[in-house]
């Protein structure tokens, strides 16, 4: 199979995955009990039928389900996500406002976890079976077993409430608002604890992947040869073993970056960070279906796009993958 047809196949697969995923969630949301009008406007007892009728027409809820589905799909193809029930404005705008806030948390913490995890993993493999290795293995095992939101609460209590080193919650200091560069520093200061929480939660997988495959490399002939010629142990690891173990954590990083829009909902909730996760929870509670679907669409497209790109890159780097399909 040539590269072009391989790429076409992967892209088509991705396209259909998105369509199916959208279909599932569309019917789930629209078949669920509860009329969104009542969630937003209040108890039906106090609503005049005219108002209900007006909104039913406006939001197209009077049409049969399959028609709404087709309308939704055709709107999606035109890049139209509809209008928010709550805010009235276009969904795309509501979502776009939140994206940078969430990405600043998730990308930062993923990259930090990747770097720290890889570094610590290599370092632990170097002292395989000794104190340093064991201590790190136990610590990362612990962080792998603690729910992120609970770790967030613990860190918030320790550093925010008792030690008063960092702000407990929020995006910025509302009491004395800053401007210019100071505003960004203030946001970074507020982001510290959520980023720390996420990094600690994400780190174990990188650490384990790198450490275990580096330990496996220790038995390889080339390591023995390099040792025999008297190469510095650190150089063996940072140069030669490193090259052989770096691919899996990079793949993991890429996949996780794909999920990065969805990944921080709980921790955003702990720290009152107004990102995608908060928007998602609010729109679910308020039955703001268009925003909900919009967030979902954005997340799924990101994930699929990243995985298609990843497949293509691997297809180019390793010709064997293409022939396997």
């Amino acid at each position: 199979m040539g590269l072009a047809s391989y790429a076409t196949k992967k892209i088509l697969e991705g396209f259909f995955t998105v369509i199916i995923a959208i279909t599932i969630i569309f019917f789930l949301v629209n078949l669920a009990p509860g009329n969104p009008i009542y969630f937003i406007a209040g108890d039906p007892v106090f609503l005049s039928p005219a108002v209900v009728e007006y909104y039913t027409k406006l939001w197209g809820l009077d049409k049969p389900l399959y028609e709404r589905y087709l309308i939704y799909l055709s709107n999606l193809f035109r890049g139209e996500l509809g209008n928010s029930y709550r805010f009235g404005g276009p969904v795309a705008q509501v979502i776009v406002e939140r994206i940078p806030l969430t990405l600043s948390l998730t990308i930062t913490s993923n990259v930090l976890a990747f770097i720290a995890g890889t570094f610590l993993g290599l370092r632990a493999a170097r002292s395989f079976g000794k104190g340093f290795d064991n201590a790190l293995t136990v610590t990362t095992f612990f962080f792998n077993s603690i729910p992120g939101f609970f770790l967030g609460i613990l860190l918030m209590l320790t550093f925010g409430v008792y030690l008063k080193l960092f702000p407990v919650a929020g995006l910025m200091d509302l009491r004395n608002p800053k401007t210019g560069i100071m505003l960004y520093l203030d946001i970074a200061y507020h982001a510290f604890l959520p980023v720390l929480t996420l990094t600690l939660i994400l780190l174990p997988a990188y650490f384990k992947t790198v450490r275990d495959s580096a330990v496996q490399q220790l038995g390889e002939d080339y390591v023995m040869t390099l040792r025999a010629v008297g190469m510095d142990e650190r150089r063996i690891f940072n140069k030669h073993v490193f090259r052989n173990v770096i691919l899996p954590p990079i793949t993991l990083l890429a996949i996780r970056l794909g999920f990065s829009l969805a990944g921080a909902a709980l921790i955003e909730n702990v720290f009152g960070w107004p990102g995608m996760g908060r928007l998602l929870l609010d729109s679910i509670r308020e039955r703001d279906y268009p925003v909900l679907m919009g967030i979902y669409f954005t997340i799924v497209v990101t994930i699929v796009a990243v995985s298609v790109v990843l497949d293509l890159i691997y297809g180019i780097l390793d010709p064997r993958i293409k022939s396997r399909g």
């Binding site: 697969e13 259909f16 995955t17 998105v18 199916i20 995923a21 599932i24 969630i25 789930l28 949301v29 669920a32 009990p33 509860g34 095992f141 612990f142 792998n144 077993s145 603690i146 729910p147 992120g148 939101f149 609970f150 609460i153 613990l154 918030m156 209590l157 409430v161 997988a205 384990k208 992947t209 275990d212 495959s213 496996q216 999920f259 969805a262 990944g263 909902a265 709980l266 909730n269 998602l280 929870l281 679910i284 509670r285 909900l292 979902y296 997340i299 799924v300 994930i303 699929v304 995985s307």
Partner: protein, 284 residues
């Protein structure tokens, strides 16, 4: 004869498993909490919903773990919570593993059109963020323990299905499968009697790990207020203590400690088994 062989084989693998220290440690940790969860109705603790005590009382001789914002005994709630959290974890993971094992092995064994459909399903479920889907389902359809279990199972089976499919793909090529075919066994018979028993161990180990993730997922969903309000799961208790986390931190922290303890136990057992059954998978 065959049965004796199977028993001795089981004993041998049991001995093999118990040689792994982390598995033993995990089993000890879990049996402690499991025993408490089973025995709690017979223990001398107050009813978990009775509000007979002063509110916000810190740990004291009368209430060893303190009381919560409604004056309920924390010890009683945490132990009853163990029942709820463990039940959800075990049922959700069990259900997910049944779905995953059946679909995964059918897709691996038959390939063709059926396999393609199942593969497609697995792919779709892998791009849908599980937590997101669970959240939507719970809010839309109202929250209850059973729905929680179902939702967690429905969103987490694809991983087990993938492992199972990979296993079946390799077991299928082995000689005894060919031999079974040669003597005229049907596909269904071969799949369930010969292929699945050989392919299943890593999937089972993963199911145990899944119990831990299911408990954590339940906690996360409950933390957002989507748990069943009638029963004290650990996640639900952390959620209820959240507004008082500064003034009465024990309300949230104690169930959290139990939660982490249990997940550590589960992960010790699961990881250890995965290492024994399939060294390659354990590295992930």
């Amino acid at each position: 004869m065959a049965r004796e062989l199977r028993i001795s084989e089981a004993l041998r693998s049991a001995r093999f498993i118990f040689r792994d220290r982390s598995v033993v440690a995990g089993i000890v940790m879990l049996s402690f909490i499991g025993l408490l969860a089973v025995l709690v109705p017979y223990l001398n603790v107050p009813y978990f919903n009775s509000m007979d005590f002063p509110r916000f009382s810190p740990p004291s001789p009368k209430n060893p773990l303190g009381t919560d914002h409604l004056g309920r005994d924390m010890l009683a709630r945490v132990l009853w919570g163990a029942r709820v959290s463990l039940a959800i974890g075990i049922c959700a993971a069990g259900l997910a593993s049944v779905i995953g094992i059946v679909l995964g092995s059918v897709s691996g064994y038959f390939r063709g059109r059926v396999g393609a459909v199942i593969d497609g399903l697995i792919n779709v479920f892998q791009v849908i963020p599980a937590f997101f889907l669970a959240l939507v389902l719970l809010v839309m359809f109202g929250s209850s323990l059973y729905l929680l279990m179902l939702v967690i199972a429905v969103t987490t089976w694809p991983m087990i299905a993938r492992i199972m499919r990979a296993q079946v793909l390799s077991v299928k090529e082995r000689l005894f499968v060919e031999a079974a075919k040669a003597i005229g066994c049907g596909d269904i018979h071969i799949l369930f009697k010969h292929v699945i028993p050989h392919a299943i161990p890593p999937a089972l180990a993963y199911t145990i790990l899944e119990i831990g993730s299911a408990i954590m997922m339940e906690a996360g969903l409950s933390y957002l207020g989507l748990g069943d309000p009638n029963y004290p799961s650990w996640g639900r208790m952390i959620y209820e203590g959240q507004p008082y986390v500064v003034s009465a931190p024990w309300i949230s922290l104690i169930p959290g400690v139990f939660l982490v303890y249990t997940v550590i136990g589960v992960n010790l057992v699961g990881n250890g088994l995965l290492k024994i059954f399939n060294p390659k998978l354990a590295q992930r």
